[in-house]
């Protein structure tokens, strides 16, 4: 399988005043296309930092990230914006929906920046809302939706630009266990049937073990364990 994402000695150091915090240290990782990689570790282990670097939201202190044959760690801000727009979908623990937008508008948001016509935006957003089972709630605002529904909206939004990789940062952190399982199940389905590479950060090892194909364990910014699911 070709690699969807590759990191090479990836290091991220945050400087806070005089103190330097090493968030990630020499991470070398190959994420195969179509893989479902679970990243776990205690809080402060660097999971979210890794995900932000993979998603082009942050730039590494040293080391490289390669996606689709391109070194994204060397891209400028505009190129990174395009990378995020076309190749990556992201979902977050706190859903990060725009409160004043309806579900449909939230899903359509990435297309807005991609310059897609209004009618087409609506059509595609509705199609994805149907896929995540929320078509009847398209005109509701995030506050009128349950946590699970909000995360489904967020997933639909992450998928609308047909990304290669879906990055999920603690997507179940704000959900109860039953809904958590539903959401991760949805991600696993997408991974299986749409050949979508998924990288999911979670401290719920149980869920990751159940759904992911690969498991990476981080501690203090270093990989302390890799496993391939059976």
């Amino acid at each position: 399988m070709p690699a969807a994402l590759k990191t090479d000695l990836l290091t991220k150091i945050y400087t806070m005043g005089r103190v330097q915090v090493v968030a990630l240290c020499d991470i070398t990782l190959i994420i195969e296309k179509g893989a479902f990689v679970g990243v776990t570790g205690s809080s402060g282990s660097g999971k979210s930092t890794l995900l932000n670097l993979l998603g082009g939201l942050d730039t590494p202190t040293s080391g490289n990230i390669e996606a689709r044959g391109k070194v994204i760690s060397r891209m400028n801000k505009d190129e990174l914006a395009l990378y995020r727009r076309h190749h990556v979908g992201m979902i977050f623990q706190s859903f990060n929906l725009i409160p004043s937008f309806t579900a449909l508008e939230n899903v359509a948001l990435p297309l807005f920046f991609a310059g897609v016509a209004k009618r087409e935006r609506k059509r595609r957003a509705l199609e994805l809302l149907e896929k995540v089972g929320l078509a009847p709630r398209k005109d509701h605002r995030p506050a009128e939706l349950s946590g699970g529904e909000q995360q489904r909206v967020a997933i639909a939004r992450a998928l609308i630009n047909k990304p290669d990789v879906l990055l999920a940062d603690e997507p179940t952190g704000n959900l109860d266990s039953r809904t958590s399982e539903e959401i991760v199940g949805l991600l696993a389905d997408l991974n299986r049937w749409q050949v979508l590479t998924v990288v999911m950060v979670s401290h719920e090892e149980r869920l990751l073990k159940k759904f992911s194909s690969h498991l990476v364990h981080l501690q203090d910014g270093k990989i302390i364990g890799r496993k391939r699911a059976t």
């Binding site: 914006a81 727009r85 016509a117």
Partner: protein, 431 residues
């Protein structure tokens, strides 16, 4: 992202914060309104003055006067020392006037003759200075007639009277005065009143050797009073032709100052107006006249001075308007800063789903531009409405003094477009 999307997005964002958007826009409306009203006032005054200069063909006129008259026209203390020696001998008599008539481009020359008189119509009397004006000039554009027609010959007992004087004489229906008879009384020396037996009373100025002479004139035309009392060769409320003026018994001076003039000058006139066929002849004419030892004053130079004055006025008005606009701009900045702070998370989300920094700043740019656009448009409308109101009020008060209706505000197309463009660009630049 499409342009229409940006507009739609910014409208919907502003709509979500209605009160704040309204107040901010209202600030811009007031700022632009003030600026527009100020500038349009400056431009309106300017337009009126230059148009009246043009209408009256004042650029074709040159005033010629003697040095001693210069002293009288200006501040007596500020007379130029060198003028005293060479200039004071020059006389502006009929011979000189004939000479000026011969200069290239000169169409007409007429001495500025004005004398005190009393006018009487319907038992109402007023005291005025009557000006002698050749028929040729009464027919020219210099004379703006409200009704009637100018006299066509120099030897008819007709006159032109201003509408404001008629009003002073309590003539209700102005046009009804046309063709009416009007009585003009002048003062003249009456040597028969000098009683050789009682010269002492004459010396003590108890009795003066003057008598009153009355003449009947026909009102031929009614002149319109100039809206702008700018300089003009016409400086009277009554004009009579020179042919009959000669026959009037009158004092040879209109002003006590005239008596101070040097004896050589006394036969001459104080002032003459020269009309040329084209403004290009003014400069050479000035040269030629100055060589004769006379002083000149060209209206075309006056306009240049006016223009400098207008520029200063425009600047002052614009600065006042700009202050209002600056305050409004701070309002926009405040609103945008608040908006950015409030939407920090939103900006982060937009960037996560692929918005570039440029996309994000464009959203805010469009929002403030929309405020600017609305503020500019409504501000222009506000400035326009306010200027109409002010114009009505000014004209209401001035009409009582016989001043015709004047448009004090002018809205040239560049001001309208400029105000809106300025508002948009100013608001846009703040983000």
């Amino acid at each position: 992202m499409r342009l229409s999307d940006y507009f739609e997005q910014s409208f919907s964002n502003l709509w979500k914060r209605k009160l704040r958007s309204f107040l901010t826009t209202f600030g811009v409306v007031i700022g632009i309104g003030a600026l527009v009203a100020m500038i349009s006032f400056g431009k309106g005054i300017q337009k009126n003055v230059s148009e009246s200069f043009k209408q009256l063909e004042l650029f074709n006129y040159l005033m010629v006067f003697t040095d001693s008259a210069w002293m009288r026209l200006g501040d007596p203390d500020s007379r130029r020392p060198e003028a005293q020696d060479e200039g004071s001998k020059a006389v502006l008599d009929d011979g000189v006037i004939e000479k000026i008539k011969g200069i290239k481009g000169v169409e007409a020359v007429f001495a500025d003759i004005r004398f005190p008189a009393s006018v009487k119509i319907n038992q109402k009397e007023a005291f005025v200075l009557i000006q002698v004006l050749p028929a040729e000039l009464a027919k020219s554009k210099l004379m703006k007639l409200r009704s009637g027609k100018p006299y066509i010959q120099d030897d008819v007992w007709s006159l032109i009277i201003s509408d404001s004087l008629l009003k002073r004489l309590e003539v209700k229906e102005l046009s009804s005065a046309l063709g009416e008879e009007i009585e003009i009384s002048t003062l003249a020396f009456d040597f028969s009143r000098i009683n050789p037996m009682n010269l002492s009373s004459l010396f003590r100025a108890e009795t003066l050797p003057f008598s009153r002479e009355s003449y009947a004139f026909k009102i031929e035309g009614i002149a319109e009073r100039m809206g702008f009392g700018g300089p003009t060769p016409l400086r009277s409320d009554i004009f009579i032709p020179p042919g009959v003026a000669k026959d009037l018994k009158k004092l040879p001076f209109s002003n006590v100052w005239d008596l101070f003039r040097s004896p050589e000058n006394q036969q001459g006139h104080t002032l003459a107006n020269v009309r040329v066929s084209h403004p290009k002849y003014i400069e050479p004419l000035k040269e030629a006249v100055r060589e004769m030892g006379l002083q000149t004053f060209a209206f075309i130079d006056q306009l240049e001075e006016f223009k400098t004055g207008f520029l200063v006025m425009d600047m002052v008005l614009a600065v006042v308007g700009m202050i209002a606009l600056c305050v409004a701009s701070l309002g926009i900045v405040n609103t945008m800063v608040m908006s950015i702070l409030e939407r920090y998370a939103e900006i982060g989300i937009m960037k996560a789903v692929g918005a570039s920094n440029r996309d994000v700043s464009k959203i805010f740019f469009f929002e403030s531009s929309v405020i600017g656009l609305l503020g500019g448009l409504f501000g222009l409308a506000l400035g326009w409405v306010v200027s109409i109101l002010i114009n009505q009020v000014i004209n209401y008060f001035l009409s009582k003094q016989g001043v015709p209706f004047i448009q004090y505000f002018s809205f040239p197309w560049w001001l309208c477009i400029g105000a809106v463009a300025f508002s948009i660009s100013g608001s846009g630049a703040e983000t």
